[in-house]
Symmetry: C2
DNA sequence: CGGCAATTGTTGTCGTCAACAACAATCTTC
DNA sequence: GAAGATTGTTGTTGACGACAACAATTGCCG
């Protein structure tokens, strides 16, 4: 609706003095409903929390998972390429890879073509670990379906396909 | 599509040695496509950046806007109530309100009913300022429409209505 | 060829944000 | 009235994005 003229009068909702509100669930959001950003933010928080919980047993967070997935699908990429593809800053990727390399999931191999850059590869245990992560991620994705419905999840992915 | 069984085999994409990839836009995301969380995260980042840019002239960030909106629609709420409604931690809300109070947009009034809590209200200039913020927020919302389409935005809001 | 700009990985800083923990003041409940 | 819960506050930690600076290396151009 977005009331084109932004209705300045705030509709004070019965001036009931100082906080006489019983169930805190009845607080009006007013203009906040109808803002895509708000709904998307709340949903994103929910999704990440479920992802973190579901992949908690293997201690993998969403960003780590995305890095492993991209390296697994494109072995030999440079850090720049991975960072650019995922929209992470290369400075941030350094720390992420430090952690993943310490856990023996990823290895940096000095490129001979360009001695500035590193070719990124999964280790052997990185491959098998990623397989397990993907199973858990699929489970998480099922939670999303349970939450918003299978059809809605498909529609949502379609709507946001441009942001891959 | 979402290959129901998570296809464990990573499909190495032609072992082309060390990073022989021309346009960095052609890096496969593999399993990442089909993950709702990834798409939502990217979209959320885009939305917030546009919101911050559009409301940049008045120096209001999304969280501040949500706080002002809720207080404006429900004057007299306690900090606990606002925090719970918006899913913010009350510790975080303290700093947010500090900033908004310094800018004379919000005032904390000691509640007489419960002397632990503060009743939150917009100041007079807070009311008029919020009106302007809402106009700018509506402009931002139009940017979202331009990005994903009017119909898709509606559908998205409907899908995520449960996360208000 | 030589020098200069650009790129790559790295380190560091700053600000935002969520998650906790602890605390004093105050309310609630028994 | 005492014990336990709630409210606002302060502080810490860790993930994350945005920058800036730097050394090593590459690429380009005169």
């Amino acid at each position: 609706m977005t009331t084109t003229t932004t209705r300045t009068a705030p509709r004070k909702r019965a001036a009931n003095g100082a906080g006489r509100r019983d169930s805190a669930d009845e607080i009006g959001l007013d203009a906040l409903v109808g803002h895509a950003g708000y709904a998307v933010r709340r949903f994103q928080i929910w999704i990440f929390q479920d992802f973190i919980k579901t992949l908690g047993q293997v201690d993998i967070r969403p960003t780590q998972y995305s890095v492993l997935t991209v390296i697994g699908a494109n072995p030999g990429l440079s850090q720049m390429a991975v960072a650019k593809r995922l929209g992470i800053e290369r400075a941030r990727l350094v720390h992420l890879l430090d952690g993943l390399e310490q856990r023996k999931l990823v290895k940096r191999i000095k490129s001979k073509a360009d001695r500035r850059s590193h070719a990124l590869h999964l280790t052997v245990q990185g491959e098998t670990a990623l397989a397990k992560f993907k199973r858990l991620a699929a489970e998480h994705e099922r939670h999303v379906e349970d939450k918003i419905g299978k059809a809605n999840r498909e529609r949502l992915l379609q709507i946001l396909a441009g942001f891959t």
